[in-house]
């Protein structure tokens, strides 16, 4: 299976873009889409309400290539590498170690902060998350599913010590993470100067989603906007890799307007 070429009908599954998908899942999905665009591998985005349950690991997005199903950015990067496409081959050992460390930083801080905001901040949960998460399902299933997911996420937050944090502390952490990313990026076009890598895809996915999603307040996106090189980075990648597909770019912009209708 590794020796087969990339088929034309490869598909990426995520939840419904307009009504259902949440901030963190959107970020992960966009990161995978950006990565595949950077590798020049064509992929169709298919939206299904039950994408989370179809996924082998329970997390979106997942890709269906040939007869294989792979979910999450890490395993997808390895799968694509086995097919012979890799973005990080040109890096030396120390740079690869740095890249992995920065990817963990994004996962550890940005993704966890997004999850916290979505599921542990009561206002956001009531007004945005609960209505969106269960929207494809009839009552009472929609409430049951979203309460179940909320309970799961809160358990995880408690286990890693984030349950005791206040929103201000979480925003502080996001700021620290963006500061670190901004310092590392500096004035270069990509994190490892000339060529984009999976780190660029991951950072783009998260930052672009934070910048273009309207939540209750704008505090989260303000934290990212403080760093002009990060916003320029997001714009550059959007122009380079997403302008070609009219479908994608229009929905990327439409996403933010759709969210405001719910409030």
């Amino acid at each position: 299976a590794a020796a087969e070429p990339w088929p034309e009908n490869a598909a990426l599954y995520q939840q419904l873009k307009e009504e259902q998908i949440l901030l963190s899942d959107n970020a992960s999905s966009l990161a995978v889409q950006a990565f595949l665009q950077m590798c020049n591998l064509p992929i169709r985005v298919i939206c299904r309400a039950n994408a989370e349950y179809m996924s082998p690991s329970g997390k979106v997005p997942f890709i269906h290539v040939g007869n294989q199903v792979v979910s999450e950015l890490g395993p997808i990067v390895q799968f694509v590498k086995a097919k012979g496409h890799s973005l990080s081959d040109g890096l030396d050992e120390v740079q690869k170690a740095e890249m992995k460390a920065y990817m963990e930083l994004v996962n550890n801080m940005l993704l966890t902060a997004e999850l916290y905001l979505q599921w542990c901040d009561d206002v956001t949960v009531e007004e945005i998350t609960h209505p969106r998460y269960g929207s494809p399902y009839p009552w009472p299933l929609n409430r049951i599913l979203s309460y179940q997911k909320q309970w799961e996420v809160r358990r995880k937050m408690k286990a890693i010590g984030w349950a005791g944090k206040t929103l201000e502390q979480v925003l502080e952490d996001v700021d620290q993470c963006c500061h670190a990313l901004s310092q590392r990026l500096g004035t270069q076009p990509y994190f490892f100067n000339k060529q984009p890598t999976e780190l660029d895809a991951l950072v783009f996915g998260h930052l672009f989603t934070i910048l273009t999603t309207q939540l209750i307040t704008d505090e989260l996106s303000e934290k990212v906007k403080n760093y002009s090189n990060l916003t320029a980075f997001c714009r550059r990648i959007e122009q380079q890799y997403f302008e070609g597909h009219e479908k994608d770019s229009s929905t990327v912009a439409a996403r933010s307007s759709k969210r405001s209708l719910l409030r």
Binding site: A101, E104, N108, R155, K156, Q183, R184
Partner: protein, 312 residues
Amino acid sequence: MAAPMELSCWGGDWGLPSLHPESLTVMAYAKFSGAPLTVNTVNNSWRAPKGDLPVLVSEDIVISQPAKILNFLRKQKYNADYDLSAKQGADTLAYIALLEEKLLPALLHTFWIEAENYCSVTKPWFASKIAFPLSLYLPGKMSREALNRILLTKGGPPLYSLTEVEAQIYRDAKECLNLLSKRLGTSQFFFGDTPTTLDAFVFGFLAPIYKVCFPRVQLQEHLKQLPNLCRFCDDILTCYFRLTVSGHSPAGQDTADANLQKLTQLVNKESNLIEKMDDNLRKSPQHPPRKLTMLKLAAGGEESSPMSRLSP
């Protein structure tokens, strides 16, 4: 200006000032930045540990997590990261995240979940440090919390049994150790010649794996195959911790300590240079004749057959 600061943390054994990774991180940072901390190790007293250790108490302020304690020390002008560039500061955050995601689960597993390790080493040791009724409850609670943490963060599908999760976390931990080793290379500390926050964190996580004698030691064996990380731990132990477990060195010893530290660093640099010279010699063409003499000895008689096994 400096209010007296007291750190309560778990004590140590097997040559370490503390067995607890977070306590060790804070102690190492205090040593690197020169903060005068009085370290109180939790021992068999009735002042039972409330919440999580380590805890820093300064006048009326009580701070409990390592990141917050380090922030507080930096605000008090005890800053080990003074010379770092902004990019190096960013790297520090990234590597700390890597340690927490990839190495910490395996560390927790080795200490608290691996049955032989837990029953024969960890539980008796921690139980001996806590007062009687709590010692029956607290180690079990710490073990359950560790298991919970690992299962919630790493244990989702497609890994369905604990053995698969264990295999995955040890793979991640070994990869993380390899990455750290490559990043450290041959330098003394991660960012040049003076230790910083990252060195404190790496030391805090690595030293317990390295020194504590467990019955099941797969992580320790992997670590021992990475000599630069072992050297890193030993250096910090000898330079900054020496024998004093209490961690409070009187003012008179300080200059002697500083001199000893400089001497040790010089000696280390010398030994690194000697190692490099050895490497160069080994790579140079004079090496093959050594092999020939070894073979001749092997051919000479049966009693020299062990030598033929040793020949390069």
